[in-house]
């Protein structure tokens, strides 16, 4: 469950998000779209507390973000899987360790970590790259590793920021199928994207953002 109540976010004199109200049910899958600079990434960042709202309340799975202590942030983040727009892979760790990190942070036993990591790499079709380092991967491969890391720990909420920007249409559809599987198992999912192919015909809600305001909503 994700709820935004009158949320605004400013940078200096520049309003990035203006009076946002959103309500996403537990187990729902929704899309977020809008032109470059509309505020999509910022909106996602507010959910995992990489940014703090200047006004309004945000509730994530019953947690009130406004009244949360700093020490609780890691716990919140461990319940959210994020596919970052710029991947954020760790250079010095190989692909396996990059993905496994999400489990190790959560204190999962090493044996289970191995099994779950292999499975996640298989889901994005990159198990053969387990021993490679991020630098030697293509853009699309890096993006899929970022996706594998986001889903490996089976988080309650999955946030994906432009998860197919570096993927060919075929691979992109594989990924969206993967997300729908996860969603059918109960994961709440929010995907920010420019790629209309992703939500076309899904029947899911598509929130439209422009210049920091929600300007409409449609079904994909």
């Amino acid at each position: 469950m994700i709820i935004f109540q009158n949320v605004s976010k400013y940078y200096d004199f520049h309003t990035v998000l203006r009076n946002i109200n959103i309500s996403i049910q537990k187990g729902e899958m929704a899309f977020l779209t809008g032109p470059s600079g509309a505020g999509k990434s910022t909106l996602l960042k507010l959910m995992y507390m990489a940014e703090i709202p200047d006004e309004g309340n945000i509730l994530i799975e019953d947690l009130d973000i406004g009244s949360m202590k700093m020490s609780q942030i890691p716990l919140l983040r461990r319940n959210i899987g994020v596919v970052f727009q710029d991947f954020k892979l760790i250079r010095n760790l190989n692909i396996f360790d990059n993905v496994a990190l999400a489990l190790r942070i959560r204190g999962v036993a090493e044996k289970e970590t191995k099994a779950l990591t292999s499975e996640a790499l298989k889901k994005v079709n990159l198990r053969h790259l387990a021993d490679s380092y991020p630098k030697s991967l293509s853009g699309g491969e890096q993006q899929r590793i970022s996706i594998a890391r986001a889903i490996v720990a089976e988080p309650l909420v999955l946030l994906a920021d432009e998860p197919t920007g570096n993927l060919d249409p075929g691979t992109a559809l594989d990924i969206i199928r993967l997300f729908r599987d996860l969603n059918s198992q109960g994961t709440t999912i929010m995907i920010a994207t420019h790629n209309r192919e992703l939500f076309r015909g899904t029947g899911k809600r598509v929130l439209k953002l422009d210049g920091g305001s929600l300007v409409g909503e449609e079904l994909g």
């Binding site: 700093m70 890691p74 983040r77 994020v82 970052f84 954020k88 760790l93 942070i105 090493e110």
Partner: protein, 289 residues
């Protein structure tokens, strides 16, 4: 935890050249500190026997009555610049001379009469211990009745004493600066480790890692570098000890102070670990999540 160790040791290996450099830096810093302490300790032992205070000898005229001596004493006692007065009788003076002459004191055996004068050994208050006021005071005292001569040739002693103190001060300054230097070196060494992984730390935070999880590999890596630096420092100190004792051999009594303190074998590596961990902790700083 085992994961933190794995990451730390992987990183130690991956950047082995920089780490070797860091280990060497920490090791030599610890060695310098050890040598400085060692040096200061021995300097204290050597110079500890040098005269501590400035004194002035006031020789009395021969055959002064008890009363007259008493007069001189009370006049001197009233002076604001006098810290301490000690009367040395003719007999005591002769005894002292005999001790000074040592093996050759038989040359005094032919003397019928004690040719030496009674004297006061006078210590000045700290504020007056300098050439100008000593000269002035000596001049004033010499004019008093019953005084034969005043001797304040201990300028040399004063010089040695002041020099000793200034050497100690220089050493202390060097020591403090080096100690500060070690902290800086450890700090900047770990800061390198840190910059190498700044991005990694940011990502770890976003993935929900706790402060402890993020810090652990750094603290382990810093501690390991410190440990190895400490071991290197110990080896250096031991090598230095061997070299010094070999050269000085068993002749010199002061060598008793040159026993290699076995505590160093534990103290240096331990100091290394602690410095490494502290340096790491400072370099990481407060992790804002």
């Amino acid at each position: 935890m085992s994961y933190s160790f794995k990451v730390a040791f992987k990183s130690l290996y991956r950047e082995k050249w920089i780490n070797l450099l860091s280990i060497f830096t920490v090791g030599s810093s610890l060695l310098i500190i050890t040598l400085t302490v060692f040096f200061l300790y021995n300097l204290e032992l050597i110079t500890g026997h040098l005269p501590e205070r400035f004194s002035m000898m006031i020789y009395l005229k021969d055959n002064l009555a008890q009363e007259e001596v008493q007069n001189v004493l009370s006049t001197l006692r009233k002076r604001p610049d006098v810290a301490k007065l000690k009367y040395i009788s003719k007999d005591e003076a002769l005894k002292e001379l005999k001790e000074t002459l040592h093996d050759t004191n038989y040359i005094l055996e032919g003397l019928d009469d004690n040719p030496l004068a009674a004297s006061f050994e006078m210590r000045l208050k700290k504020d007056f211990v300098n050439a100008a006021s000593a000269a002035k005071i000596a001049g004033e005292i010499k004019k008093m009745p019953g005084i034969d001569s005043v001797y304040y040739g201990e300028k040399i002693a004063e010089a040695i004493n002041l020099l000793k103190r200034s050497v100690e001060n220089i050493s202390l300054i060097i020591f403090l600066t080096i100690a500060l230097g070690v902290v800086f070196v450890t700090y900047s060494t770990v800061k390198i480790l840190f910059y190498r992984r700044k991005e990694e730390i940011e990502i770890l935070k976003l993935l929900g890692a706790t402060g402890g999880f993020i810090r652990a590999p750094f603290l382990i890596e810093g501690g390991a570098i410190g440990l190895m630096g400490g071991v290197l420092g110990t080896i250096g100190a031991f090598a230095f000890y061997i070299a010094v004792t070999y050269r000085l051999s068993i002749v010199i009594p002061i060598l008793k102070t040159l026993v290699f303190p076995p505590g160093l074998l534990i103290a240096l590596p331990l100091t290394g670990i602690i410095l490494g961990i502290i340096g790491s902790a400072i370099a990481i700083g407060r992790l804002r999540l």
